[in-house]
Amino acid sequence: MTTLLTINGATRRFGGLTAVDGVSTTVAKGELVGVIGPNGAGKTTLFNLISGFTPLSAGEVHFKGRRIDGQKPFRIARLGIGRTFQNLRIFPNMSVFDNVSVGAAGMHGVNAAGAVFGGKARSEAISRRAWAALEQVGLQGLAGELAANISYGRRKYLEIARALAMEPELIILDEPAAGLNDTETRELAAFIKRLHGDGMTVLLVEHDMGLVMGICERVVVLASGRKIADAAPEVVRKDAAVLEAYLGVEE
């Protein structure tokens, strides 16, 4: 199995606070890895370090053997990392289809001259991708709807579709199940599993233990910025430190 993502001693400080503290781990191609940890443990910050939104204070991040820390977010994205955001970030005043097409367009690269004089080939490639992504998440029926007008749950899928339209090699999802009920969460879990089954590498943050323990092959646990566990779900579930810091005593 080839390693896709390598995080090496990643550290991020905000003033006196060390949000991520020397975290190292790897993600192999085709893996489905979960990241869990108490609120404020630094999970989102870690994702921001990977996707280039927050610069590292120390450490390195490699993707496909290339060092990516210090690069602009869009370059990292083009290398094949798609992401969603914890606080849903859709483009509210654009249609659902247009939202997704942005993901596809970003990867294809759009330029002014091409838009004016270019032939149909490129735009059809983009639109094929966008439709494929919409169909993957089952939103094709809402393509023309204004993104601001669709429900919360669908926006979650919209965000995922937008990331999928980039045809990334690694997709990172920040709390995809937040705000979904158990039934919806199960559907989402099945969806992610299917995605993974199709060969996608997934890294996800989630507080819903049913989802994480149910589908992840490996779970990384952060607490106060440090990695306190990195193992299979069954192992993590019984880890004393994890129980103490995160899960609370089992019911």
């Binding site: 669709i150 705000g179 039934t183 919806e184």
Partner: protein, 235 residues
Amino acid sequence: MALLEVRDLHVSMGVQEILHGIDIDLGEGEIVAMLGANGVGKTTLMRALSGIYRVRGGTITLAGEDITNAPSHTIVARGLCQAPEGRQIFATMSVRENLVLGGGPQGLARIDEVLPLFPILGERMGQAAGSLSGGEQQMLCIARALMRSPRVLLLDEPSLGLAPKLVKLIFDLVARIREQGVSILIVEQNARGALRVADRAAVMEGGRVVLAGPAAELANDPRIVEAYLGGHVAG
């Protein structure tokens, strides 16, 4: 007579009606859970109750007084506070200032009761609220609503984005707040947790309440189990 009474509530957005006649009662010291899929209008209901959205028809009564379409600040002043969806904290202001604002005229009077519930907020008092992590912001949002010692507390998905340990804590907290005589209307996707603490529950679908009854009963209703509890009978 119930503390909060909602009768035949209609709310529209533009030309589109979203709530088509909602009836709910919330008794003194009672916890009512509101369940429903995404987009059925739960948040719309909560916003209408807090006076954010205009009501097109029907009445809302709080302790015998009609508060239909009253301005939001008088509703809060009468003791109906909400921890809203989307948190709506003051991102550019410090955690402390957020709490002071939550306290309204009382200011920080209740800080010693609220802060112990969320110790991490105590450590972040001077930090800008916008730089908190998602879960920390959620805690701040709930803490802010508690700062005013409300009579009726509306919680719109309070467990959203919280770690499992905290989710449990939140539901315990809900039960504890009720002990102090506060009535609570809670909207939750975590139906399991909500049904455990609630006295009664209602299920919304397409802008209507389609099912209501004691929480314990609903928790075993096969329809609920199928739709909201992931197919497994609650706890």
